[in-house]
Symmetry: C2
Subunit: 325 residues, 2 copies
């Protein structure tokens, strides 16, 4: 890659980076691109002068707000995230701008995280920890994971990785997506699948079709011993409905890694709902993830600068990278 | 099996059952065997009159204490456990009595349990729970499980099941046993393996060769970020040495499901060692385990009554069922 950098110097390219923390490794683009750092307040005025936009601060929705403005727009937008909901807007969707995402970085860590939540729930790790604090030896029978049933909602790379890891643990997994296709159930099957599942995992992108799909009706469809996990986007879940479902014991437990509002405010009632595990949007973030995201962008940049086709191109009409396999 | 029961009535057989809670399903032996229940105080006087001994109370060491006495002895002893350390004594080892164990019941649940502990440690579930109690949103980077390295000490069915499940999660697993053979490292390799492992899992039977093998020297050999799990027998570990190793941060954390003394007394210092998870010997005990153990004994009884060879026969000289595959 060092050689490539020396050959294809293109200082006419302006790379606008939306970042709170500066991304690693960008220094290797020195001489190849003019790198401009932007923030939420400067973005609108910078967009017309950028060829490429790197959305490094993937929690910000500044792009969605700034994009519809006046002037030229970058030809390529890359986001250091799996989801693109924070940047998509009708104007970007209708434009000729290419949008790519961080497919490939988060799948395995998230799948491991979900598997850990499933086993921890099956084996009542929380109960064990509580009894340990009380110095109480109380043997309990727990659940066998192998032979249980899961529904994974979201048939993209993350949903597929979750399904693969749960399958490796002997779980019988049904994958659901926007449309029925081989190996993937369509929305029509969902109510029956929810009714039979020990584990329901939300790993879908946030789109108009998925927003709020886990509502009172969905939780009511689940078994009273079902466990719900959301590693997709907070807005997939109607949080008030989940809270009610847990309080009324419609389901046995849940774990949320993503929330309608992030960071979750200290005053949120979600922090101390019995049976609910709250984690700070970290399921995919293993040591080295920022380096991996930086390296991925550089690989894509090399392809883009060479005029080659990019992987990880988001279908802007559906809001995610279509899965072909 | 109902037909078999009717055909081979053998009321001359006396089945002595050592039990605290009565085992399920034994009623189906009515008419086929005279069933006598024993306890720790009555066992010595009952042994000479029994043809078969079912050790249902697998936490008791009454058999080991009563066996060396006077008189005849049962021809077959079955224990509703994987380990036989609680019943073996030189006199039983030297006798012609057949000893069988509960191989096949606990493997998958224990492997799931260990996998859950590994993921929970890698993803810092305990830290997340603590922060949730404090209503604090604090994103952390955690560890990827895939690509890490584990040593599983114990190459019997449980060790193999643990190795299989960790391998399915992408962990590179080394299995160690009493003797080196294809796919199994011998004791000579252990120090180097311990030095390279992210996860060290004790799943060995308790024998003279394994008693106290996890001592100060073993913990000193491990990496400071290593995590230790014991699902074998408490006496594999020198608990005082583990306590010191955790306190001095020689290793990062540990989980014990088995202890030198069970139940672990309320005054034990192990209950509140930072980084140590204490669980009450339950890793293999999933809902339905007692039924499964009862059904397994009945299957063995049918074979025994028909004069057929039994599976799960323990090599009394080494103290476990030899693994041939």
């Amino acid at each position: 890659m060092t050689d490539a950098h020396k050959v294809r110097e293109d200082p006419e390219v302006t790379l606008l980076v939306l970042d709170a923390d500066p991304p690693p490794r960008l220094g290797s683009l020195t001489g190849r691109a003019r790198i401009v750092h932007g923030d939420e307040s400067s973005l609108a005025s910078q967009l017309p002068h950028a060829d490429v936009l790197l959305v490094w601060d993937f929690l910000s929705d500044a792009v969605r707000r700034a994009w519809p403005g006046e002037g030229a727009r970058p030809r390529w937008v890359h986001t250091a995230s799996a989801g693109v909901d924070h940047l998509m807007c009708p104007e970007l969707a209708a434009s000729r701008t290419l949008v790519t995402n961080a497919r490939g970085i988060f799948e395995t860590p998230i799948a491991e995280y979900v598997a850990g939540l499933v086993i921890a729930a099956a084996k009542d790790f929380n109960g064990t920890n509580e009894l340990q604090r009380q110095r109480r030896w109380r043997h309990r029978e727990t659940r066998r994971v192998a032979g249980t049933r899961a529904v994974v909602v979201g048939s993209g790379p993350i949903g597929r990785a979750v399904a693969g890891t749960l399958t490796a643990l002997g779980v019988s997994v049904a994958l659901t997506g926007r449309t029925e296709r081989p190996g993937v159930h369509g929305p029509a099957d969902l109510p029956a699948l929810l009714a039979g599942a020990d584990w329901v995992v939300a790993a879908a992108p946030l789109t108009d079709a998925t927003r709020g799909m886990f509502d009172a009706r969905a939780f009511d469809a689940m078994r009273s011993d079902a466990y719900f996990v959301n590693v997709g986007r907070g807005q997939l879940v109607v949080e008030a409905d989940l809270l009610a479902a847990l309080s009324r014991r419609w389901i046995a437990g849940a774990a949320l890694d993503v929330f309608e509002q992030e960071p979750l405010p200290p005053e949120s009632p979600l922090w101390d709902v019995p049976g609910l595990t709250v984690s700070p949007h970290m399921s995919g973030d293993v040591v080295g993830w920022r380096d991996a995201l930086g390296a991925q962008f550089l690989d894509l940049y090399d392809l883009w600068a060479a005029g080659k086709p990019l992987p990880n191109v988001v279908d802007k009409n559906v809001g995610y990278v279509p899965t072909h396999d």
